[in-house]
C-alpha cells in the first residue's frame, strides 16, 4: 500500500480495485512512463492519485474526452480512464457513447457502486428501481442504465463486467481490457459500504457467476450484459477479434514547415459557415 493518506472509507470496494490495477499495470509489457490515467470527480475518480503513473484528474464526467485528446495527441501512450458510475454514465453519459464510437485504443473503467458516494447517498444511473436513496425517499423511479449492454450496442468491441470481491477475476479482465486494441469497457461491480446497504459484498457473492467465454454473437452478448437479478454474469461479454482500431498519427515534435504555411497563404476561401 502506498505511503499516503487515502480518502476512501474503510472497506470500500475501491481498495481491491486499486490493488489489482497496480498489479495488472505493473505486469504489462508496457513501460510505466507510457501509462496515462484520466479520471473525473467522485471517490473512484481519486484512483490515479494512488497509482504511480502520470494522470489528468479532470472534471466530473469528463475523463473520456481528456482520454481522447491524449490518445489522439500521443498514440504511443496507453490511456486508461477510470471513474465512478455517476461520472462515466451520468454526467459523462454523452461522452461514454461517443468515446466508444471513436474506435480509439482507450480503456474505460467504471467503478460501479450504484450510488453517489461523495455527495452522500443519492441515486446513480445504475441504481436499481425502487431503491430508497437520499433524494428518492419513496424509491428510485428510473430504469437502471445498463452500461455494458449500451456499450456493445453503440459499437464497443470489448465489454466486460467484473466484481471487486473477486480480485483474480478483476486481474484477468483488466489485463485483457488494457491489452485489447480498441475501446474496452469494464463495469466493475463494487459495494459502497457507506451508502448502499443493499448491493453488499454478500449480496453480490450470492448472485455473480463467471462466464466461460465471450459470446461470438453481438446480440447474445447484449442480452447477457443486460441480465440482472438473482443471477448476475461477470466476465467478458464481447470481444471482437476482427476489430479494426483507429490509429492516430504521430504528431509530437513533428512541426509544420514554413514552406507549407507559405503555400497555404494562397488557398481559396472556404464556403462554410
Amino acid at each position: 500500500m502506498l505511503n499516503q493518506d487515502i480518502a476512501w472509507c474503510p472497506g470500500c470496494g475501491d481498495f481491491p480495485i486499486r490493488a489489482t490495477l497496480e498489479k495488472v499495470i505493473g505486469g504489462l509489457p508496457i513501460p510505466g512512463r507510457n501509462i496515462v490515467l484520466t479520471s473525473g470527480i467522485g471517490q473512484a475518480a481519486k484512483m490515479p492519485h494512488y497509482l504511480p503513473y502520470s494522470y489528468f484528474n479532470g472534471l466530473h464526467g469528463r475523463s473520456l474526452p481528456l482520454a481522447v485528446g491524449i490518445k489522439l495527441a500521443r498514440p504511443e501512450l496507453t490511456v486508461i480512464a477510470v471513474s465512478g458510475d455517476g461520472c462515466q454514465y451520468g454526467e459523462g453519459g454523452n461522452h461514454f457513447i461517443h468515446t466508444i464510437r471513436r474506435r480509439l485504443d482507450i480503456t474505460i473503467l467504471a467503478c460501479d457502486n450504484k450510488v453517489y458516494g461523495l455527495t452522500k447517498g443519492q441515486s446513480s444511473p445504475t441504481t436499481d428501481l425502487g431503491m430508497k436513496n437520499a433524494l428518492d425517499p419513496e424509491g428510485n423511479e428510473n430504469t437502471p442504465f445498463s452500461p455494458t449492454a449500451v456499450a456493445i450496442a453503440v459499437g464497443a468491441p470489448f465489454a466486460a463486467r467484473t466484481f471487486a470481491g473477486d480480485p483474480q477475476h478483476m486481474e484477468q479482465v483488466f489485463r485483457e481490457a488494457i491489452l485489447f486494441k480498441g475501446p474496452a469497457v469494464v463495469d466493475i461491480l463494487q459495494p459502497c459500504v457507506s451508502f448502499n446497504k443493499v448491493n453488499t459484498y454478500q449480496w453480490y457473492r450470492e448472485r455473480v457467476f463467471r462466464l466461460e467465454e465471450p459470446f461470438n454473437d453481438r446480440y447474445e452478448a447484449i442480452r447477457a450484459a443486460d441480465s440482472w437479478g438473482d443471477r448476475i454474469p461477470i466476465g467478458i461479454f464481447y470481444r471482437d477479434a476482427q476489430f479494426v482500431c483507429r490509429e492516430g498519427k504521430e504528431l509530437l515534435r513533428k512541426a509544420v514547415t514554413e514552406e507549407a504555411v507559405a503555400r497555404l497563404l494562397n488557398t481559396k476561401c472556404i464556403m462554410m459557415r
Binding site: 499516503q4 480518502a7 510505466g32 512512463r33 507510457n34 496515462v36 484520466t38 470527480i41 481519486k46 490515479p48 492519485h49 504511480p52 502520470s54 494522470y55 489528468f56 484528474n57 479532470g58 472534471l59 469528463r62 473520456l64 474526452p65 481528456l66 482520454a67 481522447v68 485528446g69 491524449i70 490518445k71 489522439l72 495527441a73 500521443r74 504511443e76 501512450l77 454523452n94 461522452h95 457513447i97 461517443h98 492516430g248 498519427k249 504521430e250 504528431l251 509530437l252 515534435r253 513533428k254 512541426a255 509544420v256 514547415t257 514554413e258 507549407a260 504555411v261 507559405a262 497555404l264 497563404l265 494562397n266 488557398t267 481559396k268 476561401c269 472556404i270 464556403m271 462554410m272 459557415r273
Partner: protein
C-alpha cells in the same frame, strides 16, 4: 474611384459562388477589394446578400454609400430591399437580365452554374477590366469562355466600363478572417484542434480538417463543446499546442473547462467568434456581445488573456502569438472575433510573421513536480512519457506534485502562485495601435473587427478638417495604465457592436477611464464607414451623441 456592388437572392441561388469567383479574379487581376456577406440561418430560400467593394486604394470596410450596382437573382426581394439604396445612374441587374444569363448558361454552356461566372464577368466589365488580362487570369478555358460571355452581356446592355476602377493592388494574398486565424494558429505551432460545428466558427475547423491531410496536425469533431475543449486540454497535457473555436452558445458549454485550464494550468487557445445572443439569437449575423462573458467565464479566480484582432495581419499575428502566451504562462488565452470579420475577405496588407513558433519539450527526472512554487508563478512544464518524470495534474486544489490537498495554507500559496502570473502577463501586453492625428482632442476607441472601419472613418473626418485619431485595442484584457496614457484629457468615443458598451465599462473598471460617448450598433449588422462618420460628426458637431 470606389465601386460597390450588392448581389442578392435566396440562399442557394449562387451569390456566394459569384462572390468567391469574383474575389478570386479581383485578387489575380490586382484590384484592391473588400467582400463581406449578410446571410440567413437557412440552406435554401430567404434573403441573403453579398457585398463587394472595389477601389483604386486599399479598402477594408463597407463604404456605406449607395450601391453602384445591384444584382438581383431573385424575383423582387432584392430589388424591394436594396433598390432604394441604388445610386442615381447605378446599374440594376434584375430578373429579366438574370434570366437571359441563365438561359445562355443552360443552353449554350449546358451548365446553369456557369451563370455565376458570367455574372463575375459582367462585374469585371463594368469595372473596365482589360478582357485580355481577364482571360489570362482565368483558371481554365471554360472559365475564360464564361467571363467572355459576361463581357459580351455587359457590352450589349451598355454597362461595360460604366464605373471604371484601375487595378492598383499588385500581387497580394487575400484571406477571410477565419482563414487568418487558422493560419496564425499553424504559425503558432498549433497541432490539435477539436470542435463542434457552430456558425461563425465552423470554417476554422474546416480549414484544420483540410490541412490535416498533409500537415502534422489533427482535427477532431467532438460530440459537444464540452468534449471539444476537454479533448484540447487532454492533447495539450499530452504535449501538443491545442485550440478550440466556437461561438457564444458553444462557449457557454466550455466554461467549466476554462476553469479546469485555469486550475490545472494547462495551456489552451479558445477562439470565440461572436454572433448576436442571447441564446440562439441571430445565428449568422454579427455582434461584439461576448466580451463580458469571455472575461468572466469559468468559476474561480485565475489569470487569462483576451486578444481581439481587427485586420488580417493582426489576426494572423495575434492568433500565432496566443499559443506562445498560453504556453509561456500556462493559461487559457482567448481570441475574440465575430461573424463580420470571420466572413469578410480582404487583402493581407504589409506582411504577416512567417516564422513558426514551437513548444519546448524539457526533460525532467523522477521527483518532477508539475506545480512547483516559483517567483513568477510559472512551474516547469513537461509532458507524460518523455522520461520517468510523472506528470500529475489535478482539478482539485493540489500540492506541488499534483495531489489533492485541503491544506488551507497551501491553498492560499497556490492561489497566489497562479494569480501572480498576471504581473508578468501585464508587462508583456500588446500595446494598442494609434491611427490619425495623435494630437487631436477626439479619440475613437475600437477593439476587434471595428478597427479598419474606424480607421477609414478617421481618414474621412480628417479630410473634412475634423481633427481625430483612433486607438485600436488588439488586446482587451488585461488592460494596463500605459495603454491609455494621456487619454483622460481627450474626448473619448467608444465604438462597439453591442448594446451596452462592454469595452467602455471595462476601461472604467480596470483603468478608471471614463468614455464620453458611446457609438453602438446591435441589430446584427456591422458598421459601414459612412454611417460611422455620420454618427461621429453629430457628436463632434453638437458635443453629444445623437
Amino acid at each position: 474611384m470606389d465601386f460597390s456592388v450588392l448581389i442578392g437572392g435566396e440562399a442557394g441561388q449562387g451569390m456566394f459562388s459569384v462572390e468567391l469567383e469574383l474575389s478570386d479574379l479581383l485578387s489575380r487581376l490586382g484590384y484592391h477589394f473588400f467582400a463581406t456577406k449578410n446571410y440567413m440561418s437557412r440552406i435554401r430560400g430567404g434573403h441573403n446578400f453579398h457585398m463587394v467593394r472595389v477601389a483604386d486604394r486599399p479598402v477594408h470596410a463597407l463604404s456605406g454609400r449607395p450601391w453602384d450596382m445591384v444584382i438581383a437573382l431573385d424575383d423582387g426581394e432584392t430589388q424591394r430591399r436594396h433598390g432604394a439604396s441604388l445610386r442615381e445612374g447605378g446599374i440594376l441587374l434584375g430578373n429579366d437580365k438574370v434570366e437571359a444569363i441563365e438561359k445562355e448558361a443552360r443552353e449554350t454552356l449546358q451548365d446553369v452554374t456557369a451563370s455565376n461566372t458570367i455574372l463575375a464577368g459582367i462585374i469585371l466589365a463594368v469595372l473596365g477590366a482589360d478582357p485580355q488580362k481577364t482571360k489570362t487570369a482565368s483558371s481554365d478555358a471554360p472559365t475564360a469562355e464564361r467571363l467572355e460571355k459576361g463581357q459580351a452581356f455587359a457590352q450589349r446592355w451598355g454597362m461595360a466600363g460604366k464605373f471604371p476602377v484601375p487595378a492598383r493592388a499588385g500581387s497580394h494574398c487575400k484571406l477571410d478572417g477565419n482563414q487568418a486565424f487558422a493560419l496564425g494558429a499553424l504559425l503558432g505551432g498549433c497541432q490539435f484542434m477539436a470542435g463542434y460545428p457552430m456558425t461563425p466558427a465552423t470554417s476554422i475547423m474546416h480549414y484544420f480538417s483540410t490541412v490535416a491531410a498533409e500537415l502534422p496536425v489533427h482535427f477532431e469533431q467532438a460530440e459537444d463543446e464540452i468534449a471539444a475543449i476537454n479533448m484540447a486540454l487532454g492533447a495539450s497535457y499530452a504535449g501538443l499546442r491545442s485550440m478550440v473555436a466556437t461561438a457564444g452558445g458553444g462557449f457557454a458549454l466550455m466554461t467549466e473547462a476554462v476553469s479546469l485550464a485555469g486550475m490545472t494550468e494547462t495551456p489552451v487557445v479558445i477562439i470565440v467568434a461572436q454572433r448576436p445572443g442571447p441564446a440562439t439569437g441571430l445565428p449568422t449575423r454579427t455582434e461584439q456581445g461576448e466580451l463580458n462573458f469571455v472575461l468572466h467565464a469559468g468559476h474561480g479566480e485565475f489569470p487569462r488573456v483576451i486578444f481581439a484582432p481587427g485586420s488580417i495581419e493582426e489576426a494572423i499575428a495575434l492568433s500565432r502569438l496566443s499559443f506562445d502566451v498560453a504556453d509561456r504562462w500556462q493559461i487559457p488565452v482567448f481570441v475574440l472575433t465575430d461573424q463580420y470579420f470571420a466572413d469578410s475577405v480582404q487583402f493581407l496588407e504589409g506582411s504577416a510573421p512567417t516564422t513558426l513558433l514551437q513548444r519546448d519539450y524539457p526533460i525532467f527526472e523522477t521527483g518532477y513536480k508539475r506545480y512547483t512554487l516559483t517567483s513568477d508563478g510559472v512551474s516547469p512544464l513537461t509532458f507524460p512519457g518523455l522520461s520517468e518524470a510523472r506528470v500529475e495534474v489535478d482539478s482539485d486544489e493540489h500540492t506541488e506534485d499534483g495531489k489533492i490537498t485541503e491544506d488551507t495554507a497551501l491553498r492560499a500559496r497556490m492561489v497566489d502562485k497562479r494569480l501572480r502570473k498576471m504581473d508578468g502577463i501585464a508587462a508583456e501586453a500588446v500595446t494598442p495601435t494609434c491611427f490619425g492625428d495623435g494630437e487631436a482632442g477626439t479619440v475613437l476607441i475600437s477593439w476587434g473587427s471595428n478597427r479598419l472601419i474606424v480607421q477609414e472613418a478617421v481618414e474621412i473626418l480628417q479630410a473634412e478638417g475634423v481633427p481625430a485619431c483612433a486607438l485600436h485595442f488588439g488586446q482587451v484584457y488585461p488592460l494596463t495604465p500605459k495603454m491609455t496614457e494621456g487619454l483622460s484629457r481627450k474626448r473619448l468615443i467608444c465604438i462597439e457592436n453591442n448594446a451596452t458598451g462592454q469595452f467602455a465599462q471595462l476601461l472604467k473598471r480596470e483603468l478608471g477611464l471614463k468614455v464620453d460617448h458611446l457609438v453602438l450598433k446591435y441589430n446584427g449588422e456591422c458598421f459601414t464607414v459612412a454611417e460611422l462618420v455620420e454618427r461621429i460628426r453629430k457628436i463632434v458637431g453638437r458635443g453629444e451623441e445623437a
